[in-house]
Symmetry: C2
């Protein structure tokens, strides 16, 4: 029997090699002051020699802190939530936290509450929910948990810490862009209205068009998918009265352009189209899409910063708004009558 234990070394074995108590090793690991440099060196050498790594489960048990953040993300297939999740993970790692993630897929029967519970059992220090739907926000409101909770959603909320991408400003940028080109009659194809982002974009569209004195026209309620917008376009039998379409996301914008094309209409000459998201392909579809770019990186940083502050019980504002910018491309042009 070879004496080099094949199993993972623990803090006491390190202590034996270094000729100190395990608490001294623990102090070195946690950067406590008042450790003699020579002792520290011996401990570090022993750690090196054994290739020791602390057991985080044991540490979590002892400290009641896991340095782990739970993230719940809905419709993880979509571009927005995925990008947000990835940005949070990166920012969390930068702050020394890891991420435990649960994706709520449609119809897999996992309720937001169950997801919260499952994460809490894993011992998270804080919870972040990427909650695009009002129904899930309502469900969250009833959840009581013992760690800080932050929600990424379209608007501020007194119940939670909140980080929002500025949907309103983005929608206003798009409307202003179209109006500047000369459009006076714009159709809005929204996302499903129980999605907060859809609702925010729709409200911003209404209030901006109204304040600019533009014709009030009923919106079309879509479902975010390109298929929906394609089918809608295929239902048009002649060029409509409106001269521009504001689709609530890029996917619908692309589907719409596809359908218009199949119906023999040209974008942007017959109709201008804008989207929202700036998905990677938005720049290269035909015609390239005017859209809104969201700063996911800034969002991830803000989420982690706010959660850290909450964990450490520092005072911070409970709300952060992330700016957006418009990206102007060939899918928008002045309407015919102006040219």
């Amino acid at each position: 029997m070879v004496s080099v234990g094949s199993h993972k070394p623990n803090i006491r074995q390190v202590a034996v090699i270094a000729g100190v108590s395990h608490m001294t090793v623990s102090r070195v690991l946690n950067d406590h002051p008042n450790i003699k440099p020579d002792t520290r060196r011996r401990v570090l050498e022993a750690i090196e020699e054994l290739d020791y790594r602390p057991n985080l489960a044991a540490r979590a048990l002892a400290t009641q802190r896991s340095r782990r953040i739970g993230v719940i993300v809905e419709s993880s297939g979509a571009f927005g939530p995925t990008s947000i999740l990835s940005a949070i993970e990166l920012a969390a790692r930068g702050a020394g936290y890891s991420v435990a993630q649960i994706a709520l897929h449609e119809g897999d029967g996992l309720s937001p509450q169950a997801a919260v519970e499952s994460l809490m059992m894993q011992g998270i220090d804080a919870l972040c929910v990427i909650a695009p739907r009002s129904s899930s926000v309502a469900a969250l409101r009833r959840v009581v948990i013992s760690v800080p909770m932050l929600v990424v959603k379209a608007d501020a909320d007194p119940t939670f810490l909140t980080v929002s991408i500025d949907q309103h400003a983005g929608a206003v940028l798009l409307v202003d862009h179209l109006v500047a080109l000369g459009h006076r009659d714009i159709l809005h194809i929204s996302g499903p209205l129980d999605w907060l982002d859809a609702r925010a974009r729709e409200r911003a569209f209404h209030s901006r068009t109204k304040s600019l004195g533009i014709r009030e026209r009923p919106i079309v309620v879509g479902d975010w998918t390109a298929d929906f917008a394609y089918d809608f376009a295929m239902g048009l039998n002649r060029l409509p009265d409106y001269t521009a379409v504001f689709a609530a996301n890029d996917e619908m914008a692309v589907g719409l352009i596809h359908g218009l094309h199949d119906k023999g209409f040209d974008v942007p000459n017959d109709l201008s189209v804008v989207g929202f998201d700036d998905v990677p392909l938005a720049r290269h579809v035909l015609p390239p899409l005017t859209t809104i770019r969201q700063n996911f990186h800034a969002l991830g940083v803000a989420v982690v910063e706010m959660l850290r502050a909450a964990i450490e019980e520092r005072e911070i504002p409970a709300f952060t708004r992330i700016p957006t910018e418009i990206v102007t491309r060939a899918s928008t042009a002045p309407p015919r009558e102006v040219r």
Copy 2:
């Protein structure tokens, strides 16, 4: 002082309420046999009453099992890796496992080894690496860990458990489709050749065109981005000799179509184009893209099934191949001379 402890109940408090020892509670929690139905009921009632949830960190410490799978994913922005990760997470949850994820972003200085170590410290039962590059696979070969390790990559590998999407079959389907349409001169725009998927698709392209007796033509090595393919197309000053292009992913296919369009060439009338991935927008870009659909769901299930078997030390094949299918759309048509 109210006696209802504001802090989380533990197994001993449950035991007191139920009037049993804490081990009986543990047995109920873990579905041991030989518990009297009446006792079980009392324990469950006490759990309910206290709203007790087991502490998974403590359980992991005691059992040396975390029911957590580590996943390392490279270039998490890309469609493929993201879809794979999401599929694995879903399948893992179905099997009662959670997922600890680390994304390797380009240039964030985290090596695959460091990622492995970081996950091991978190106490994972098994490791899955979504490793698209040969360099990372080479790095992994030198990693020694004490848990089962599975790599999702383009081909089988004696070193690891492996799950592969059948890149070869997919590429063959595309070549055969083009040849069936009458194309005899096809350009391949590959991904970066240190990516295993790119390499596999390129090799399949070569071997299939060769065995069909089609003109050998040097490939163009791309970088997966639509921008690259766009620029490539913009460099064409006249219609090339080849009549079809096999782009190694959808993004490059779309960028290429964009560039060809800007140069005044028409797809598919001047040139047929195929991609690989079937991204959500592939169906709605103009023209809709002929491409390869990969079964990510099946992949996720296979990954989790193989890892479970390895964790439980059951015998299983060390390699699973996931099939692909071709989706034929309007970006491909017979070449001019055939019509």
